[in-house]
């Protein structure tokens, strides 16, 4: 993945609450989080629903827009002051001209697909306790990096329920 990060010639700093991306915009950038944390969310009838987090050493991207070049409904917002390296689609396309690079890219995408499948099961899991335990097991780091209220939203439960589950 270092090879991809190295492609970046643009680093940006976003303050907490600032938006990297808003709903409706086309964003074909790949972002590597050097420090800080962000969340990716959608608006569901004026309610925010977080679908993914990014913290240090994560790659974040609005993959729908990246792959299609079309507008995406995703918001990307900094949870705290965040430093990101920006890699453009053009840089990735050039990168993918080599076969070994294409293989690396395929591995990254395969990984993402597996993560999406896990997430799909999360969402379809009825028991809040089980949803919490699934995420705790696969991303314990999340609970160090992200404030509870955002994790609760991601897990589709109230912050109070999450507190209770963490204590038991």
């Amino acid at each position: 993945m270092e090879e991809i990060i190295a492609l970046s010639d643009n680093t940006i700093i976003i303050d907490r609450s600032e938006f990297l991306k808003v709903k409706g915009s086309i964003d074909t950038n790949l972002y590597y989080v050097e420090s800080g944390s962000v969340r990716i969310f959608v608006l569901d009838e004026y309610q925010e629903q977080t679908i993914r987090f990014g913290y240090k050493e994560n790659l974040i991207v609005s993959l729908d827009s990246f792959l299609t070049g079309k507008p995406s409904d995703l918001f990307i917002q900094a949870i705290k002051k965040t430093v990101v390296r920006v890699i453009s689609k053009q840089q990735i396309d050039k990168f993918l001209e080599t076969e070994s690079n294409r293989n690396l890219w395929i591995k990254i995408l395969e990984n993402l697909v597996i993560q999406q499948m896990e997430r799909e099961i999360d969402i379809l899991t009825n028991s809040p306790k089980e949803r919490y335990e699934r995420v705790l097991k696969r991303s314990p780091q999340l609970f160090q990096e992200i404030p509870n209220r955002h994790i609760a939203n991601y897990l589709r439960m109230s912050p109070e329920t999450l507190s209770r589950l963490k204590k038991s």
Partner: protein
Amino acid sequence: MQSEKLIQMLLEQSRQIINQAEKLQSYDLNTLTWKENEISWSILECLEHLNLYGDFYLPQIENKIKNSTTKTDLEFKSGVLGNYFAKSMLPKEKLNK
């Protein structure tokens, strides 16, 4: 200009403006409520004004678009009246005092 391009440009402007507004959240209440004189507006009053207008106009605009029977134009052409109203809302060199 192409409609799609205009929309993207406006979205980017909106993103930057929202980010500026987010910064204001960290200001203390004294700064946010400061007024130059009795009839001038504080930062909070300006924001409230914008929010009130947004709360009214945005659903109206959304509704009109949703119920429109006309087709979207690929190329955006502004009209005299639309242009006039849009421009009249831009910040001016000399602020209204």
